[in-house]
């Protein structure tokens, strides 16, 4: 995918690309974290059909919504970067002893050596969960460790 970058002197930067469906989308990054999400006219590539101004908080929220699956994919790719380490995604089934339980109670790191680095819930990534984090059924736990260690975490969530 080609992302085209254009400087807008005095305003900021613009990035745009074509979607596979043939539409053109862009983001204008302005000062103070303001962003404009722009969608180009289907018939006239020169003009913007729809422009949406987002403040810093809103654009963060939007990027999190759009980016969550990618972050998980990237975590899974960690194994390629650090030899010997793997990133594993473990879904908590409703009958898991820890569904509704606290992260601290699993003592996962002490017992297995692997780290829980994030939890994905409803397409939202909750990074670095603390010991008082409470799991819900169908949460996806992202674990990083050696293959043996992460397998042990999966076992732990299944049987306790």
């Amino acid at each position: 995918m080609d992302i085209e970058e254009t400087a807008l002197p005095g305003i900021g930067l613009r990035h745009e690309f074509n979607t596979r469906g043939g539409r053109r989308v862009g983001v204008v990054s302005r000062h103070k974290g303001r962003r404009d999400l722009v969608i180009y006219d289907a018939g006239d590539p020169d003009s913007v059909a729809e422009s949406l101004t987002l403040n810093a908080e809103e654009s963060d929220a939007l990027s999190e919504l759009l980016g969550a699956p990618h972050i998980v994919e990237k975590l899974a790719d960690l194994s390629k970067v650090f030899a010997g380490l793997v990133g594993e995604q473990i879904r908590i089934s409703p009958d898991s002893p820890y569904a509704g339980g606290l992260l601290g109670d699993t003592q996962a790191r002490t017992r297995t050596g692997a780290s829980i680095v994030a939890v994905v819930r409803d397409h939202e990534v909750l990074a670095s969960p603390r010991p008082d984090f409470r799991f819900e059924p169908d949460d996806v736990v992202v674990v990083v460790g050696t293959p043996d260690n992460t397998a042990a975490v999966a076992e732990l969530f299944r049987t306790g």
């Binding site: 807008l8 005095g10 305003i11 613009r14 020169d46 003009s47 422009s51």
Partner: protein, 406 residues
């Protein structure tokens, strides 16, 4: 004590009125600049309410306003953007300046005002208002459009040209002829080159003078040091007859990174205050009774000013491969004139060039600051209608280009 009281009452009244007027302007969606000018006309010389006690303060405030206008303009750009813009759109910039200075120069000669006034009038008609234009493009949701980088690059070149132009005008106004002013001018342009070099090459050092970019941000220190540095450089520049405004502009360019962003944030409210004072001051010194006699000339200049800017934008956008509708949008976007035309006119008025130059500049900017945003808004439907009509008559013209809605 009595004097202080009258200063407060006059100033407070003026500022409060400006606030009310500014509110109306933002409601209507028009730049407040023409409104501030009208307010100045209403208050001062020959107006309804003469300001006496606060005149000295308003005069100094207006000078600070010019420094802040140029400082914040410089803060908008990084040195890289300037160099890049110059490289990419230099031909468009040259066309822009030639086409748009010509009407002003011609008007000055036709009115028999002489060479110095011609140089000033050329500047007044040539330079667009980057403040109004950036606001209008944002408001209309056109930042994503293909023609927008072209429009912005033309503005960058205009602003750079202003950095060379203002010292020339300052020297001319001080000496009346290029020949006598040439030594001053040489010093001025030499100083400009040195400062520009420092700004481009040693930007981090200049930035450090204001604030350490790695330390935790402290708005108070940034405000005091950035404003202090700008006023110092502006003062020295003025001493060397380079023009205070250019000194401030170069300080703005030299500052970079998070410090520049911080400075822009803390200085913007201050700029709004003093720039408003500056527009009022210009209005104050223009007698409303002198406006009607120059109105015909101003209107003629406005009509040609719209046409030459549209032609510039059309040509520049075509060069960038933009289709017909976008070319006209680029042209219309460039129409607005505002703060910088008044800055140039202000220099000439205080040097006492032609008594009718002030009123002419005021009415020209009044017209163009209102016409500009309107042109930008209505260019699309008008162009669309024009294109449709052209396509209906000769069937062959329909294959002209990527028209909207196809």
């Amino acid at each position: 004590m009595d004097h202080t009281a009258s200063i407060f009452i006059e100033l407070g009244g003026v500022l409060f009125c400006l606030g009310v007027i500014g509110h109306v302007a933002s409601r209507v969606g028009i730049s407040p600049i023409p409104f501030y000018l009208v307010a100045g006309l209403a208050f001062g010389k020959g107006g309804l309410l003469p300001l006496v006690a606060s005149e000295e303060f308003i005069k100094t405030g207006a000078e600070i306003g010019v420094v802040l206008l140029l400082l914040t303009l410089g803060l908008e750009y990084t040195a890289d953007e300037l160099v890049h813009g110059l490289r990419k759109q230099a031909p468009a910039g040259a066309i822009d300046l030639l086409l748009n200075a010509a009407p002003g120069v011609a008007a000055a000669f036709l009115l028999g005002w002489g060479g110095t006034a011609a140089v000033v009038m050329g500047g007044i008609t040539a330079i667009s208002s980057s403040g109004i234009i950036a606001k209008v493009l944002g408001d209309l949701g056109r930042l994503g459009n293909r023609e927008t980088p072209v429009v912005l690059s033309v503005l960058v070149i205009e602003d750079l040209a202003m950095a060379v132009y203002l010292p020339i005008v300052t020297a001319l106004l001080a000496h009346q002829t290029i020949a006598r002013g040439s030594i001053t001018l040489a010093i001025a342009l030499g100083a400009l080159a040195v400062v520009l070099f420092v700004a481009l090459r040693h930007s981090p050092k200049v930035t450090r003078l204001v604030f350490n970019p790695n330390a935790e941000r402290n708005d108070e220190i940034i405000l005091l040091r950035a404003l202090g540095l700008a006023l110092l450089v502006a003062g020295v520049a003025q001493r060397l007859q380079v023009s205070a405004a250019v000194g401030a502009f170069l300080v703005g360019i030299a500052l970079s990174g998070p410090v520049a962003e911080g400075a822009r944030e803390v200085l913007t409210p201050l700029r709004d205050l003093f720039a408003a004072v500056f527009f009022v001051f210009f209005g104050l010194h223009t007698d409303p009774a002198e406006i009607p006699p120059v109105l015909a000339v101003a209107s003629a200049l406005a009509v040609t000013g719209v046409a030459t800017k549209v032609a510039t934008g059309w040509w520049a956008a075509r060069r960038a491969g933009v289709a017909t509708l976008g070319r006209f949008r680029a042209g219309a976007a460039l129409v607005a004139r505002g703060e910088f035309s008044i800055v140039i006119a202000g220099l000439a008025v205080s040097a006492g060039v032609s008594p009718r130059l002030g009123p002419l500049a005021a009415s020209y900017v009044l017209l163009m600051a209102v016409l500009g945003p309107l042109a930008a808004r209505f260019v699309e439907p008008v162009t669309r209608a024009g294109l449709r009509r052209m396509n209906r008559k000769p069937a062959t013209a329909a294959s002209g280009g990527p028209l909207p809605g196809i």
